[in-house]
Structure formats: structure tokens, C-alpha cells
């Protein structure tokens, strides 16, 4: 077992739940821990995240020792980079979805992170354009009227296909009127227009190069409507391979420097 890549976990305790765990996970490997309730699944994950300290244990992740009870090492949870989804989600109830995401990102990204409400719009856009590496996060409000030509805007990430809200009363009434074909006639054309406009944020001048990433697998998989959406978008090369996107972006970064 090598300790330089992946994570190795060794835990032992008698209290509050008896545990004796010894496992290693390689990079890229997905491991599911299955067992009856009370068998220590959550305790194991909490120990990895740094929320629980077992009596005896050693956790090494990518060569960094997170926990070693023999050596008196117990890295603070804040400094372990772990994603943990709690049983009850534990979302911050007073924040919006976007703010929940940003709260975890702000201190961890090496770049300036801007939220759409951080500054008045003109100042916000100036800050974003000025700092080439900055990331700007926003909801539908940012969809229109963003005009940043050049390398400052070379990656547009759209989290999902912008179908209109199902609870919009005006659209609901129209859907009722149309009946069966409502999705094709009302929702799909709107999503296609919106998606094309979102993708249009990238290309603001003749020389603009970059990536539009749509993190919605329906755009790659849904046979009944994916082409309606793709054909509405500006012409660009397509891939579903993240590695290809990463190397393209790296090349882009090299060429602008």
C-alpha cells in the first residue's frame, strides 16, 4: 500500500461505536461503504472529515498525514479538503443556493471570487474584466447584458439547461391551453433561446476563444430534444471529455501569457 497517492484509513475504537477499519482508496476509485445502521459508516466518514477523533487512528491523504494518534497529529477539519454531504444536507438555511455554494468556494479558490450582489453592476463588471483570473458567480440576473470581450471571459459555465420555471403562472396558463405538446411548443424554444444567449456571453468579439460548459447531461443524452437545443447554439466544437476541455483551457492560458 503506497501512501503518496489516494487515501489510506486506519481507525480503531471501542466507544461510542466499536470500530476496526483498515482501507485504502486509489485516486479515481469510487468506494461504497454498506452496512446496517449503527455499524459505524457515518463515524468512519466523520473521522475522515475531521469531525470525529477515534481512540487510535491514522489517515493519510495524497501523502499528507491528516490523523496520526500515535504521533499526536489531528488536522483541523477546516484544513482537510473533503466534501461531505450530511444526512440532513445541512444547507445554510438563511442563504440562497448560490450563496451556499460560494460560502465554501470563496476561501478555497486561489482566484478572486465575485458574487453578483457584491458590487453595483458596472463596478462588478469592471472588477471582473480587470482581473483576468477572477470568477464571477450569478443567477439568471447575470444572463443578459454581460459584455466582456477578451481573455477575462474565456469560460462560461451553465449549471443546467435553462428551462422556464414550471410555476410561472403565465406560462402555466399557456401550457394548459396547448395541452399535450406544451413542452415542445413552449418550454423547449425558450430554453433554446436562453441557452444560446448564455453561450453568447463568451463570444463578444471576433478574436474571442473559450469554452462553454453546460453541466447538464440531458444536453448530451436526451434523444428527444438535445438537437433542438444544440442547433440553436452558436457553432462550436463539442466534447463530453473533461480532460480534453482542461487541456484546451491550459493551452489557452499559455497562449495569452
Amino acid at each position: 500500500m503506497t501512501e503518496s497517492a489516494g487515501i489510506s484509513i486506519h481507525l480503531e475504537q471501542d466507544f461510542p461505536i466499536p470500530l476496526n477499519i483498515d482501507l485504502a482508496v486509489d485516486p479515481g476509485e469510487i468506494l461504497a461503504i454498506v452496512g446496517p445502521s449503527g455499524s459505524g459508516k457515518s463515524t468512519c466518514l466523520r473521522a475522515v472529515a475531521g469531525l470525529h477523533k477515534p481512540a487510535v487512528g491514522r489517515i493519510v491523504c495524497n501523502g499528507a498525514t491528516w490523523l496520526d494518534t500515535a504521533a499526536g497529529i489531528n488536522l483541523d477539519a477546516r484544513r482537510r479538503r473533503v466534501g461531505l454531504v450530511f444526512q440532513s444536507y445541512a444547507l445554510f438555511p438563511h442563504l440562497t443556493t448560490l450563496e451556499n455554494v460560494l460560502e465554501a468556494l470563496r476561501d478555497r479558490l486561489p482566484w478572486t471570487v465575485l458574487h453578483q450582489d457584491d458590487l453595483p453592476r458596472p463596478l462588478l463588471m469592471a472588477r471582473f474584466a480587470e482581473d483576468e483570473t477572477s470568477c464571477l458567480f450569478g443567477t439568471k440576473g447575470l444572463w443578459h447584458g454581460i459584455d466582456v470581450p477578451g481573455p477575462s471571459l474565456s469560460l462560461v459555465v451553465i449549471d443546467r439547461i435553462p428551462f422556464p420555471r414550471p410555476d410561472d403562472p403565465l406560462l402555466s396558463a399557456r401550457r394548459d391551453l396547448v395541452g399535450d405538446g406544451a413542452f415542445r411548443e413552449i418550454d423547449l424554444p425558450r430554453a433554446a433561446t436562453e441557452l444560446a444567449q448564455g453561450a453568447g456571453r463568451l463570444i463578444r468579439s471576433r478574436g474571442d476563444i473559450g469554452v462553454v460548459a453546460v453541466l447538464d447531461k440531458r444536453l448530451a443524452m436526451n434523444r428527444s430534444y438535445r438537437w433542438d437545443l444544440l442547433e440553436a447554439m452558436p457553432p462550436m466544437a463539442r466534447t463530453s471529455d473533461p480532460a480534453e476541455v482542461a487541456s484546451f483551457l491550459e493551452g489557452l492560458q499559455g497562449s495569452t501569457r
Partner: protein, 222 residues
């Protein structure tokens, strides 16, 4: 209408709130999460001013502030006058008397925040300070608001402790409640009623505003 007595009361209440706010947040937050042994004893001693008759607290504070005690002697040494029968002495007494009114709602508010949210904040890499500022304080806000309003309202109405520690010196320690009592003693019920009415109005407005404010913040993202 004794406007200077009213102004003195409002000043006393405002300063008490200002001094107690950071203290009560620190103590309330700590009591909400700590598992230290003897926690009940600490909680009980902090709640004591709520149970004790004001005259008893006043008597103890009077003795503690007097030139015979080390507190009183130290104050005399530093500022050249005694602590009793001064506004400063009244303010310190007011802070002590209001500890339970400020700490308890704030502690309950912090207790109501699920421990999982604190853990989620830690896993997201939020520093302790950022977690307090961005997650816990906004969630505890209605409780903090309640604590502050209770403190302010209670200071406006405090009578026994003020009389014992501050006496009845116009412009220095005569609060609105003392002024009302003073007027009643002088058979001037008309003046007393007028002042009582103003006090009633101020209390009502304060509480109404605080309810409105707490709701506004709580409703921001429903």
C-alpha cells in the same frame, strides 16, 4: 415632564445594551456549545439577578461599590470619586442586573442552530470567525434582537436597584422610573401619569420595531 430624567434612562438603556451585546454573544455562544462540568452552576449564577429581589442586588452592589470594598477603593484611586450615586456606578449595576435578560435569549438562539451546520461550515473550510459572522450570527439574529430589546426595556423600568445604588440625583442618577415615583410621593399624579404615558409609548414602539426588524431579516430568503 422631566425630560432630563427620560434622557438619562434612554442613555442608560442604550449604553447597557452596547456594553452587554458583545459580552452576551460571547457568553451565550460559549454556553450553547460547551460541555464543561459545572455548566449548570454557571448558568444558575448568571440567572441569579433575575430571581433576586432588586433591593437585595442593590444592597450587595452598594456594599461592593462603596469606598470600603476593593472595587470602590480602586475606582476612587483611578477616578477620584466613589462609584455609588454616580451615573457610572448606575451603568455598571445596570449591566450586571441585565445579564440574564441578554444572555438567555442569545444562548437559546445559538442552541437552536444544528451542530451539523457548524460542522458543514468547518468542512467547507470556513474559518471560525467567518463561520460565526456568516452562518451563526445571522441565524441567531432574532434571539440577539430579543435579548437587546429585553435589556433596553428592563433598564427603562428598573427601579429598586437604581434607588439603592444611584439614589435620586437629578441629571446624574434620577431615571424616569424614579422620577415617576418621586412625583407620586409628592401627590403630583398628573405629572406622574404624563411620564408613565411617555414611557408606555416608548416601550411599545421599541418592541414593535424589534418585532418588525427580526421578521424582516428572518424572511429574507424563504
Amino acid at each position: 415632564m422631566e425630560w432630563d430624567a427620560l434622557w438619562l434612562s434612554v442613555r442608560l438603556g442604550g449604553l447597557t445594551v452596547l456594553i452587554l451585546l458583545p459580552l452576551a454573544i460571547a457568553v451565550g455562544r460559549w454556553l450553547a456549545v460547551t460541555r464543561v462540568s459545572g455548566k449548570s452552576l454557571i448558568e444558575a449564577s448568571l440567572a441569579l439577578p433575575m430571581i433576586l429581589p432588586p433591593t437585595v442586588i442593590g444592597l450587595y452592589l452598594l456594599v461592593a461599590f462603596g469606598a470600603g470594598s476593593w472595587v470602590g477603593a480602586l475606582w476612587q484611586e483611578l477616578f477620584g470619586h466613589t462609584l455609588v450615586f454616580t451615573f457610572e456606578g448606575l451603568l455598571i449595576a445596570s449591566v450586571i442586573v441585565n445579564i440574564p435578560f441578554a444572555v438567555q435569549p442569545i444562548q437559546r438562539a445559538f442552541e437552536a442552530i444544528s451542530p451539523e451546520l457548524r460542522e458543514a461550515a468547518a468542512c467547507s473550510g470556513l474559518s471560525r470567525w467567518r463561520s460565526l459572522w456568516r452562518i451563526e450570527l445571522p441565524l441567531a439574529w432574532p434571539g440577539i434582537m430579543t435579548g437587546m430589546v429585553l435589556t433596553f426595556a428592563h433598564t427603562l423600568g428598573e427601579f429598586g436597584v437604581v434607588l439603592m445604588v444611584g439614589g435620586n440625583i437629578s441629571g446624574e442618577t434620577r431615571t424616569i422610573s424614579i422620577a415617576i415615583y418621586d412625583r407620586v410621593q409628592a401627590f403630583d399624579n398628573a405629572a406622574a401619569s404624563k411620564m408613565a404615558g411617555v414611557l408606555l409609548l416608548i416601550s411599545l414602539v421599541t418592541i414593535a420595531l424589534s418585532f418588525l426588524f427580526a421578521q424582516r431579516v428572518g424572511r429574507r430568503h424563504d
